[in-house]
């Protein structure tokens, strides 16, 4: 019996169309337009096509290489601390202690407070003459006089890291806590019966069981931290002397501060490319590690 060729069913595509159009308009078009802009010398007065000149100039500048290096260092340090503190916090919040519900609520404010408000608070904390940190340090004899945390290059960088970790850790903690609560208690009981101690149970049961969440949160956190703008901008605006200028801050200063839209767009495309390459290698590495663990 010859089967009739069925007609192509457009109905699913019809249902998907609104979302596709939305994604095209909100995501695809801006990306394409940004790439197009990056091939021009667009500025206040107009634009003309320059090809890959913007990219060539950028990649030849040592200053830009330093910005990239600084951005990755910022990302790895901040995310590393968030993951470690998040794991520690989730473990503590998962423990059966009195007042656990209250502690879980108290961990939220840094994430809930609008970032700008939180950063302005930190700005005052870091102030040399009126700030709490400098004041306390003087009173306990740690320093002789006022200290400007944001006035010097390395202190400003690490102070911005502290603020970023403060903002980002609660969310990581909550996600890890949710993952830990999904781990079967039977596994812990069986391990306890076999004489496994707390650290052993944590390392051999908790971590492997919540590893997918750790991997996903790490990647998301890295992307968010890589593109973190408000914290740096409010605290230091990329200074002093560029010490806290990451790629996103450099892009903003170029495109919005200096009205050089073409050069700014080139930087934005480089950000997308770097994050894309990084994500690819990250997932490849995780896949290899998982295969290695399975074979063990």
């Amino acid at each position: 019996m010859i089967e009739k060729k069925s007609k192509l069913d457009f109905y699913p595509y019809f249902l998907l169309a609104p979302s596709l159009i939305f994604i095209l308009v909100i995501v695809a078009w801006p990306l394409i337009e940004t790439f197009r802009l990056s091939l021009t010398d667009a500025r206040l007065g107009g634009e003309s096509y320059v090809g890959f000149e913007n990219y060539q100039e950028l990649l030849e500048k040592k200053k830009f290489h330093r910005v990239i290096t600084r951005t990755f260092f910022w990302m790895f340090l901040s995310v590393g601390l968030k993951i470690l503190l998040g794991l520690a916090g989730a473990t503590l919040l998962n423990a059966k202690v009195p007042g656990r519900a209250l502690f879980r609520v108290l961990v939220m404010p840094p994430w809930v407070i609008p970032i700008a408000i939180g950063c302005i608070g930190w700005l005052w904390l870091y102030n040399s003459h009126f700030g709490l940190l400098s004041g306390i340090a003087q009173r306990i004899g740690l320093i002789d006089g006022p200290f400007g945390f944001l006035a010097y290059k390395k202190p400003a960088f690490y102070s911005a890291i502290v603020t970023d970790v403060w903002v980002g850790t609660p969310m990581v903690t909550i996600f890890f806590l949710a993952a830990m609560q999904g781990v079967s208690r039977d596994l812990y009981e069986a391990a306890w019966v076999d004489g496994a101690g707390r650290w052993h149970r944590f390392r051999r049961i908790t971590i492997p069981q919540i590893m997918p969440v750790i991997v996903t949160m790490s990647l998301l956190s890295m992307i968010w931290t890589f593109n973190s703008f408000e914290i740096i901008w409010i605290l230091t605006e990329g200074g002093p002397r560029g010490a806290t200028t990451t790629l996103i801050v450099d892009t903003y200063k170029t495109a919005i501060g200096n009205w050089k839209f073409g050069e700014g767009a080139a930087r934005a495309v480089i950000i997308v490319a770097l994050l894309g390459i990084f994500s690819f290698f990250y997932y490849s590495l995780i896949k290899k590690l998982n295969k290695f663990e399975e074979r063990k």
């Binding site: 206040l44 040399s128 003459h129 006022p146 006035a151 002397r241 009205w259």
Partner: protein, 406 residues
């Protein structure tokens, strides 16, 4: 048929002419976050005298005011007129976003010396000067006396440093309030000292880059010395934050504009003196103006010019400058030339300090990429404040970077 065509053409002409009689809606972006009474009075009178014209004043806070106008212009929806820092005029003019100002000759003669240089690019005036300021040195006499030094004007940089050091060593306060944050007034404060040392940034006649000079090196060397007697971490401070320290008695002296008297603690025992002369110059100051720019493409530039002129001349401008109800700025005009017989600054020693230095003052340099210019200066200044490099190297690098802007 012919008569119908003629009738239609006639109808079109009448309709077209009625467009020109319809209301012209002027959009005026004013910085400061509030509409001043004096400006509202001028605008109300302007509307009354120009039937069919409406003026919408949009008061925008200082931090975003300029960017808003530039963003609107870049998007093809420019304001009719906007209050802009004069440093932006060259960029706006080069990008064909504004039209030249039409300043009458009698007003040109009445401006204080050097004012029109701040709005002139290649011989054309691009803005109506609106606000003008110069700088002077404020000294806390209580701290000076506590330090055992006479509270009087230092006449040169050595005396300035000695006074600051005495305050720093003998009181709990820092000797000098130094500004070093990535902010425009960091560059401005440096220029104040540079111009008091016979320095230049751009030769006003030839347009040549004059930044890499002995005067600049001496000025940067002054900063290197002052770091030792300044408040902790000057790279985290811009001028208004130093003002807070001054009000709190934590710095002995700092450079401020004429509004200083109004923002310092009432009853503060202080003097205001000219910027002391550097080793290579005479006491000078920085001439900064903000202007009203008429944007291109609004469709009613002629009316916009009239409004800009009304706002920036005669009594309206005087009302802005005067401290009573106004901003308390350095007078932009020699108001006696405009017929105001007893201007607010006459016979007042306070104002004399801000006015007498005008002749030796220099303008804020007009370059297209003014924010990059600011970065060049801030990078140089922060370099010496952080001890990153030598005076020579920093000035050489700044000179080269500035060359790329011209």
């Amino acid at each position: 048929m012919k008569s119908i065509k003629l009738a239609l053409i006639g109808l079109l002409l009448v309709a077209g002419s009625s467009f020109s009689l319809r209301a012209a809606d002027l959009h005026f972006i004013m910085c400061g976050g509030e509409v001043r009474e004096a400006d509202q009075t001028v605008v109300d009178a302007f509307i009354a005298n120009n039937p069919g014209v409406n003026v919408n004043i949009e008061a925008v806070p200082w931090g975003t005011c300029q960017d808003k106008s530039l963003t609107l212009a870049a998007a093809g929806d420019p304001p009719s007129i906007s209050y802009m820092g004069s440093r932006t005029l060259r960029q706006l003019a080069n990008n064909d976003l504004i039209v030249p100002a039409k300043i009458s000759s009698d007003l040109m003669e009445a401006y204080q010396p050097g004012i029109l240089n701040t709005v002139t690019v290649k011989g054309t005036h691009w803005g109506y000067p609106r606000a003008f300021s110069t700088k002077a040195l404020f000294i806390n006499c209580d701290l000076a006396e506590q330090a055992g030094v006479a509270c009087e004007a230092p006449t040169n940089w050595d005396e300035l440093y000695d006074m600051a050091k005495a305050i720093n060593d003998n009181t709990d306060a820092a000797g000098f309030g130094l500004v070093g944050k990535d902010f425009d007034n960091t560059m401005h404060q440096f220029l104040v000292w540079l111009y008091s040392n016979g320095g230049q940034v751009i030769d006003l006649q030839t347009g040549a880059n004059m930044l890499d000079s002995q005067s600049t090196r001496e000025t940067l060397a002054l900063y290197e010395k002052l770091v030792g007697v300044a408040q902790e971490g000057p790279t985290a401070f811009e001028r208004s934050q130093v003002k807070d320290l001054y009000n709190d008695g934590q710095v002995g002296m700092y450079v401020e504009g004429p509004w200083g008297r109004g923002v310092h603690n009432e009853g503060m025992n202080e003097i205001v003196v000219p910027i002391p002369a550097g080793p290579s110059g005479e006491s000078g100051t920085l001439l900064i103006t903000d202007s009203i720019a008429v944007f291109k493409g609004s469709g009613h530039e002629d009316i916009a010019h009239k409004l800009a002129t009304a706002l920036t001349s005669g009594e309206s401008q005087y009302a802005l400058d005067t401290p009573d109800g106004g901003w308390g700025l350095t007078p932009i005009f020699d108001y006696e030339k405009l017929g105001i017989s007893d201007p607010y600054y006459k016979g007042d020693d306070y104002w004399a300090v801000f006015i007498n230095g005008i002749g030796a003052g220099g303008p804020e340099p007009l370059v297209e990429d003014f924010k990059i210019m600011q970065s060049v200066f801030v990078n140089m200044i922060q370099g010496i404040l952080l001890g990153d490099d030598t005076v020579d190297n920093l000035v050489s690098i700044a000179g080269e970077e500035f060359d790329e802007l011209l």
